[in-house]
């Protein structure tokens, strides 16, 4: 089941990347980043089945960091919404050349 799980992880990661690149709604972009993190978690768990328990520990840490990131990121989105009255990423172009 190792190869199938790795393929599934790769498919989920690619779909997440596509979502990040193509969507305009900042919340959906954020959701797609969570999808990418989850695909990586799946890869870790699949490899931990063969290579030892450390992979599962790392997934535990990744989930914690994802939770922290979601909290801070959504707070940033709220404060951007206050400023622009929208969550479209087209508005956030201060660093764009």
């Amino acid at each position: 089941m190792l190869a199938e799980s790795l393929v599934l992880g790769a498919i989920l990661f690619v779909l997440g990347t596509f979502g990040v690149l193509v969507r305009r709604n900042a919340i959906i972009v954020f959701l797609c980043i969570e999808l990418q993190l989850n695909a990586v978690n799946l890869t870790f768990v699949a490899l931990s089945r063969h290579l030892g328990i450390e992979g599962q520990l790392f997934v535990f840490f990744v989930m914690t960091v994802a939770a922290a990131e979601a909290a801070v990121g959504l707070a940033i989105i709220i404060s951007l919404f206050r400023h622009f009255r929208s969550v479209s990423v087209e508005n956030f172009n201060l660093l764009k050349w």
């Binding site: 790795l6 790769a10 990661f13 690149l21 193509v22 305009r24 030892g52 801070v72």
Partner: protein, 174 residues
């Protein structure tokens, strides 16, 4: 049996992920994401990571997705049905970058499972023995609270900082 279940869960996960990317309504996207997370939790169970499957359902599908839903409701984006896909050159660039990434990943996955490095590790049978000896939780907890205890404490501090930062950012100036 396990193989059939794996393919069912895999189809659910990929379908849900496609739904997340293609659904126009943010709430619909979020519900597809919950489905994907549940399917991945099922695959975790098939890979004998029962503890992580439980955490995935409780923390990810429970807490984090509800946080997203709260923000969507707070900002009143629930009936936002306009298409927000990028068009033209940006979409082409996204397709190209994604295709490149997919090709690279496919090349990497191609040789998985045959590398000679695998003989130095326990393998599925060894992992089954460890899980039978220490239990599903014990096998994760034992290294977590001994070898990796510093990382564990640092993650606690990270969560505290994220909490304070989120409150400070979302509260605004008022």
């Amino acid at each position: 049996m396990a193989d059939v279940l794996f393919y069912v869960f895999a189809a659910m996960a990929v379908g849900g992920a496609a739904g997340v990317v293609l659904q126009r309504n943010p709430v619909g996207s979020l519900l597809f994401m919950v489905g994907t997370l549940a399917a991945v939790a099922g695959i975790f169970v098939l890979l004998e990571a029962h503890f992580l499957a439980a955490i995935q359902v409780m923390v990810y599908a429970g807490a984090i997705m509800v946080l997203f839903l709260f923000v969507i409701m707070l900002l009143n984006l629930g009936h936002d049905y306009q298409a927000d896909m990028k068009r033209g050159f940006g979409a082409f660039l996204a397709f190209a970058a994604t295709g490149l990434l997919a090709g690279l990943l496919a090349r990497q996955v191609g040789g998985a499972g045959e590398s000679p490095i695998y003989q130095y590790f326990p393998g599925p049978e060894g992992m089954d023995r460890i899980l039978a000896e220490q239990g599903v939780i014990g096998a994760v907890a034992q290294p977590l609270f001994t070898e990796y205890v510093v990382a564990f404490e640092l993650v606690g501090i990270l969560l505290l900082v994220a909490l304070v930062g989120a409150v400070a950012l979302a509260r605004g100036r008022g």
